[in-house]
């Protein structure tokens, strides 16, 4: 196995784990708010907690 294949395999595993983690966190972590990737949810939560 050449060095390129080893690096690609590592990147692939990391990417797969990142996707699985993302799905898992959205559905099975009730204490953290579901997140859209490009919306300012944390700001709104912060404002709500301050008010």
């Amino acid at each position: 196995m050449d060095w390129q294949t080893i690096i690609v395999a590592i990147i692939g595993v990391v990417a797969l784990l990142a996707v699985i983690r993302k799905f898992y966190r959205q559905f099975f972590k009730p204490e953290s708010a579901p997140e859209c990737d490009n919306c300012p949810v944390p700001d709104i939560q912060e404002k709500n907690s301050q008010s």
Binding site: C36, D37, V41
Partner: protein
Amino acid sequence: MSALEKWGIKELCDVLKTVTSNHQASTDPFPLEIGPKLDPILKPISNIFQNKLGYSTRLSTGQALRLVTRKSTLDIYGQVYLNSQQIDPELLEQLHNLRQSALSNLEKENVPHRTLEATLRYQWLDQNLADVQTEGLQQIDTRSQSEKIDSVLTHKWFGPLIFTGLLYFIFQAIFSWSTSPMDWIESGVSHFSQLVVSVLPKGILRDLLVDGVLAGVGAIVIFLPQILILMFFLIILEDSGYMARVAFMLDRVMSKVGLHGRSVLPLMSGYACAIPGIMSTRTIDSWKERLITMLILPLMSCSARLPVYALMIGAFIPSITVGYIFGLQGLTMVIMYFLGTITALILAKIFSSWIKVEGKSSFVMEMPPYRVPILSSVFRQVFNRGKLFILNAGKIIMAISIVLWFLASFPKTDIHGNPGTIHTSYAGKIGHSIEPLIKPLGFDWKVGIALITSFAAREVVVSTLATIYNVEDSDENVVQLSVAMKNDINPITGKAVFSPLVALSLMVFYVYAAQCMATFAIIRRETNSWKWPFFMIAYMNILAFLASLLVYQGGLWMGFS
């Protein structure tokens, strides 16, 4: 004074302190006119306050009225301590039962309980103001600058026309103004891919970086200028006070579809993103209205749909003028936004007749004065938005592009031992297996794969298509997605895979489809049930399929191809 803008509060507090200091509890009768119809309804509650808590007649009547008007009053009694001891739970239970009985009596009398206290206070004001000499009538008669502008911007007919015109201007600007920055980004991605090709030796890592990472992420980053322009205008409209007027105009429509004004603001935030919109439905008292608002909110076209619309419109809708002044591209975008909004309102009407839950909330909205937006604040918000898009959305797009590259590149040989193609890859097999289902909508297997991956987020459809076209293409550098889509020919029919009709069908599909994992998750959390998120997915995807089918088959029937 204004509680919303937080001015005049200190002065009010000072006056209250002056009035209440050295002043015994008033023994005057309750000032608001309760009347013979309400008196027997409120009496049992005020008796409890008087006998059990030692309140004066005036205070007990006032608290009885407040308890009937707002349920939260009971919660406050549950939390407060009386003479260092928590209030008796039995007394709370008694108050709760008496409140329920008062509510049913009020309903029989056709008196809305939620606005009862406010109504009585206004009656008192009207009676008293009529008897006193009012100063400054001239001032009241003279309309302020804001009121003059409101008379045009919130006019029954001109208001919606102006709003539509503004939307059209924004969407046309998105296409016209973003051309140069998009070209720069595209050229940057292309140069970077050439750099990677020149630095790395030929091999699997170089293929992954160029065809997977750079193609997928680059295809989305190109739309950053358009997203920033949309955000810039939305923030300007918000900060200038115009969005509150739009909410006011929509409030009229809301009552006709079974919702109330409180649903307007969450729905308006849905134009940027459904998630904060759904979270802000917590301000809606009535569960039925809150649920309906949550279910229809994902139909408002959020900014994640923008790359999908922009890709399809930019590539397949000609940049021509219709009706002498209207650019067809901007007009198509306006239609997509209106399609989602109008469907949301129609469905709200249908859902409100299906979902049987009692309760209706009231809504009072204070119009902020018009003001010139502070540019530094606008640019800061636009910058933050761009940062969120690049850093947060970029991560999942990159991860999905990498996984997809693996699925599209392996196995390297087919079952006969011949070199594999994208058709024999895992992604190709998945795409081909669902192609019969989506063929009536005009979509091929590549779009089929994109429909699956974009459940994570709608914009992933763009990066998915870019990755697939790059894996399929033998060119070493990144292939421009819109060019690849235009040149894609179906080998069986010999016809172009994408046409303006297919692009329209795909856009309509994305107007309705529930392609957002985060929305599904937040509805699951906010409703505390799996039933409603699955219902949302089912109704939105059935709607998307039928609407897309209607557009494509209707277009074919009318002679378009």
